[in-house]
Symmetry: none
Subunit: 418 residues, 2 copies
């Protein structure tokens, strides 16, 4: 059963605004057991919008249209729909009274162009007769069309409260897709695909999707079916098998972040962590503290951007800096050891590197990064070379450093540096 979405707005086809409605509406339709065939984004333009509407009515059972319902001259959606669907605009007096009352209640001045909001294609049903935002539904042939406001918050509320229930009252899904997400770090998309080609035959009917979310890759496992318990069982089996196959590169499932996983692992062991960040400038601390309750395990961080701060805050030897440089294995080891000792935490994590674009040399090109971890009387360190621009190097360094903590706590070997 085809469904589609039409997004209307000049700002969306001119690079001014990023669309959020297509994304949201498609998620809602998926949750109804439907699939979205196409999302069409057009400007506030009679010709293109009418073309999109005409095609949609011919082929799709459910059509969601957002945007272009406002009171100003550039809002053409209701008028265009009236012509394409051959249902002339007519004034909905009840809606007009309601709009007048709402405007008054909000203390806003009445403007004659607000009357336009009550002009709907004949036979249209107002979705939320008591709300402030205007949206309506109308049937044409075999299609049910839903016209919603373009303001994301209004659109979402109307989608959740009126459109989804209305769709489910007209259509009983036979199968609904269920899915799991596994988050992977340290393997490329094609390396993951290679490994997944080795899943057992009884899992072959699962569908896999790969979504790079730098520097992570998110793998979705999808299965459609009727029996929820059976499907969830299969998904769990698949998740377990794939996690084992990709071990130790899968760091989380669902929408959990790496910093949340690291936090949980520390909390479960009643352990504390401190940070010494040079090239990441505070990004690792920012990520760790994005988790509510992180103060239980995160004690402090030192953002040691100058040589002097490395000496004063961490006790790095001036001699080490002079001999090996601030970006060196020797320095990162003293950093990790120094922060752990002064913070009196169980673990000390340190990074130093050249994020670029300046500062690289032949020996230590841009992207050269050292990571150090001091824990339980042991000291680990490794060297990496991360590709990309300044931001990419910072992001990859923070991810790798956090993954070192996860791997240490799990007893996995660290990802070897170069």
């Amino acid at each position: 059963m085809l469904t589609e979405i039409i997004i209307v707005g000049d700002e969306l086809v001119s690079g001014k605004t990023r669309d959020l409605n297509g994304w949201y509406a498609s998620g809602c339709l998926i949750s109804c057991g439907l699939e979205v065939h196409e999302i069409t984004t057009v400007g506030d333009n009679y010709d293109t919008l009418s073309g999109a509407l005409r095609t949609a009515v011919q082929r799709s059972r459910f059509v969601i249209i957002t945007g272009g319902l406002g009171p100003t001259d550039d809002d053409l959606t209701a008028e265009t729909a009236a012509k394409v669907l051959d249902k002339p605009l007519s004034l909905d007096q009840g809606l007009l009274d309601h709009i007048k009352k709402s405007t008054e209640r909000l203390g806003l001045p009445w403007s004659p162009n607000l009357e336009k909001l009550a002009l709907l294609p004949r036979g249209a049903k107002v979705l939320d007769p008591k709300g402030y935002a205007c949206g309506f539904s109308v049937a044409k042939g075999n299609s049910q069309l839903y016209f919603l406001p373009g303001v994301p918050a209004q659109m979402r509320e109307m989608m959740d409260r009126f459109v989804v229930p209305d769709i489910l009252s007209r259509y009983r899904p036979s199968t609904v897709p269920h899915h799991r997400i596994l988050k992977v770090f340290g393997l490329s998309e094609s390396q993951i695909a290679d490994v997944l080609s080795g899943v057992s035959d009884d899992l072959k009917r699962l569908m896999f999707g790969f979504y790079p979310s730098f520097p992570e890759t998110h793998v979705t496992i999808t299965i459609r079916g009727e029996d929820v318990a059976e499907i969830e069982g299969e998904l769990t089996a698949a998740e377990n098998q794939i996690t084992t196959l990709l071990d130790p590169y899968v760091f989380a499932s669902g929408d959990k972040t790496l910093e949340a996983v690291v936090g949980e692992e520390l909390k479960a062991r009643n352990m504390t962590l401190s940070l010494a960040e040079s090239c990441t400038g505070g990004l690792i601390g920012h990520r760790l503290t994005s988790v509510s309750g992180s103060s239980v395990y995160f004690e402090r961080g030192a953002v040691v951007y100058s040589d002097r701060s490395k000496v004063e805050m961490l006790g790095v030897q001036q001699h080490t800096l002079d001999t090996y440089g601030a970006v060196s294995d020797q320095t990162v080891r003293e950093m990790a050891e120094g922060i752990r000792r002064s913070a009196k935490t169980d673990m000390g994590l340190a990074v130093t590197g050249i994020a670029g674009p300046l500062g690289g040399s032949k020996d230590k090109p841009v992207g050269t990064v050292f990571i150090g971890l001091s824990a339980r009387g042991k000291l680990f360190s490794g060297q990496y070379r991360f590709p990309g621009d300044r931001q990419s190097v910072k992001v990859a360094t923070a991810e790798m450093a956090l993954d070192w903590v996860r791997r240490y706590l799990h007893g996995h070997p660290f990802i070897p540096g170069i």
Copy 2:
């Protein structure tokens, strides 16, 4: 002259991922003086993609297609294009050699499915023969099609470096829209609109756009025309007038970030800065160090998440913490003073607050934040209450703290706290 964009990816029609490429590509086409007729988003599905491609080739002069060019089985774009355009896939040996070399250089293992990346529709021209990401261009009838990777960073680079110049070599725009962006922090969209209703009449023919980019609002000023010198003159006059009207809330123009502006201002005055961050956890340091060359003015940061770290790293009095609490005006003043003194910098900037969702009280609800700034023997502090979730409070706090530095250096009063 019609142009359109086709966005390919299951994740984009199932509510999993928000599209960024359609937005970016349409902005690029607009900057070439073209208009975008339609953005079509389809899944990795032969039927829907081939339908969209067929329609596009019939009607549009330029077509941008992003996504579905990867090595895995679900990537169907090249194959579908080959069939629809009647240009069978053939192996581009030069591209294959290049992919092999790039993979080797990055230390990644070779995987046979990578060979798929070098299978292009006959006659296709590789856009970036020396790059890592694959993209190609092919002509069909009167249409020029550009196939780009779906990963936004790769897509953007290819769009900027190869597609825009190629389009401009094939098409000479008569009028091009010119625009300026002013970045505003501290005023709401409707407050800005009210102020802009006061611009002088000779600027009224400019078009204004308001684009919230939390916690900032970006205002675009657009004008279309042929005479570039005249237009640029008008834009500069408009920019100056509006900046004055909105003073001191406009912190940057163009694509400059607040942290870049703060960095430039510090550098110009040969001044240095240190940070003491509690609730932001390192975010301010991360932002400051996202600017290349920031080590000249950014000396160090202390991420003082525990009370003990505030005492040990900054010399905050235990008595102050016991009497007023870690989130208090007294504490933030000692933090700012403490970091400036120990780092021996010209300025010390400090923040402490309750990011939530836990930790709020009646007196100090979630979102309560104190900012302190120590500079040239003076000590400033202020209290705020920021709305929203944990991430929003962190982001708003970092922005406000950085804006304090900018305002201090400009001699503007700080934004009053509550």
